[in-house]
């Protein structure tokens, strides 16, 4: 299994190394005795969208959740190997998972706004983390970044649960952005949404990558092809191939990848 099969891509290793935000080095993830992710290594580049694709149960969501230590809440989950973020192993002894999550944000599969007002959904995270500037401004900025401002500016103090599913998901994105995270993790963010809301969020991601680094897990290969710059293809816990998205979808190096992206299995 080679990650960078041809010389053109091998050049990229150098560039990637410099500009990478997160480096995964031989990452293994266990649930009890079950090895759900096996020896995965790749780098996540700054201001790019990295997609993780693969059939159900291949470990892609598990891998994503390990990037901001959300796996800590799963009983029996254990991570081995190194996840280097800001020159530090995320799973190092002195690392506080709370501060990891504050810097690496997450958007979940199903929209999960707090049962509070739109305003408080966004302001709460910064406030508990010691934000002491004007939250009004922060709320407006975050909602604008998530392309939701125009739709909700007149009802900021209404309950977030009155929004539509697509709006709720954009609110969750705004909520994550309010923390100004260095990396934004998205776990199948569109799987519970209709096509129009999905298109909204995809457009949004193009805007966001100017400022943020995004890692997205998706079931939808067209989506990965449309939005991502890099793609990791996983199967049964193995990283089969990691490369520039265009390559994965046009000239994959591994036969298995080709079979998957052309829809022959999975």
């Amino acid at each position: 299994m080679s990650q960078f099969p041809d010389p053109a891509a091998a050049d990229q290793v150098q560039i990637m190394h410099k500009k990478s935000v997160l480096e995964l080095r031989n990452v293994d993830i266990f649930y009890g005795d079950n090895r759900a992710v096996k020896d995965v290594s790749f780098n996540i580049r700054r201001n790019r969208i990295t997609a993780i694709i693969g059939p159900s149960g291949c470990g892609k969501s598990t891998l994503l959740r390990s990037l901001n230590r959300m796996n800590d809440f799963v009983e029996g989950a254990r991570v081995e190997g190194e996840l280097i973020f800001a020159n530090e192993n995320l799973y190092g002894k002195d690392v506080d998972p709370v501060s990891v999550r504050r810097r690496i944000g997450m958007v979940f599969q199903k929209p999960n706004p707090f049962p509070k007002s739109i305003y408080n959904n966004i302001a709460w995270g910064p406030l508990i983390n010691g934000y002491n500037d004007s939250t009004d401004e922060l709320v407006e900025r975050s909602l604008k970044q998530a392309a939701l401002w125009e739709e909700v500016k007149d009802r900021l103090h209404d309950s977030a649960l009155n929004l539509s599913g697509g709006q709720q998901q954009r609110l969750c994105i705004a909520r994550a952005l309010a923390m100004e995270p260095e990396v934004l993790l998205m776990d199948e963010p569109c799987s519970a949404l209709d096509p129009i809301s999905t298109a909204h969020i995809e457009d949004l991601m193009f805007e966001l990558k100017k400022k943020y680094t995004i890692v997205i897990v998706t079931h939808n290969m067209q989506q990965a092809a449309r939005i991502s710059d890099y793609t990791a293809f996983m199967e049964m816990g193995d990283l089969i191939e990691f490369n520039v998205t265009k390559r994965i979808f046009t000239r994959p190096a591994v036969k298995r990848t080709e079979e998957y992206v052309t829809g022959r299995f999975g």
């Binding site: 901001n68 959300m70 809440f73 009983e75 709370v98 501060s99 999550r101 504050r102 810097r103 944000g105 997450m106 979940f108 199903k110 999960n112 706004p113 707090f114 049962p115 509070k116 709460w124 995270g125 508990i128 983390n129 309950s159 649960l161 969750c172 909520r175 994550a176 923390m179």
Partner: protein, 292 residues
Amino acid sequence: MSFSSEQESIYLARRHRKAKLFALFCAAITWSGVLLLGILLYQVSIDGFRWLDWQFIDSFPSRFPERAGIKSALVGTVWLICLVALISIPVGVSTALYLEEFAGKGRLAKIIEVNIANLAGVPSIVYGILGLAIFVRYLSLERSLISGALTMSLLILPVIIIASREAIKTVPQSIRYAAYSLGATKWQTTWAHVLPASFPGIMTGVILALSRAIGETAPLIMIGALTFVAFLPEGPMDSFTALPIQIYNWVSRPQEEFHELAAAGIIILLAVLLIMNATAIFIRNKTERRLK
């Protein structure tokens, strides 16, 4: 096997009939309970209504029925319930939060869980004995309001804890994850999201538990609440009486008039219960709407 349309419609009619029958059965059970309560209330009102006036509420007990009142018992009950609420709600809700959010699923948590479930079924007189031994004698709190309140709190704590745990369990995991993903600590997540979201359910448990405490007599008799009190308690260390005790006292007298006074006392007790529950439900609904 095939479905002939004729047969299918017969089956369908039969299934609908069954559903209707079951609904009727449930309704009958429900209404028979309500009916019984209605009869009881009717009986009590007939006996007690003519004694109900301001004089009855504003007088101390007396050996002359026409001068007797329930002032000291009413004030004693209000004192008692306020103290019980002050003690049992923080302790009960904290215990539930600890068991659900912090304790994990270890063996110790299991043991505590089983014990609490068992305690909920212990007869109230046993709590009375416990209260007598610990609060009245050992801690020398005497036969005071605080002894009564502590004993009552022990009695209703299991109910509050179990109801609060159930309420906390219904808070979706996704809300906790959302908070954690923003860099919240466990405490921040619990305080800002889990507790408010489970508040209506916790309130329901608290209402039920406090209502039970209002009506309990046995533990209070055991720890020695007085039956004839011609003064009002002024602090938690004062001796006291409570509505159920006063009612019990009147019922056990031979004169017919005192039995009617007991009925009047029951009406007052029910009114206090109703007012308390209404207030709690009002608060609950208000917060529920805010959460939605």
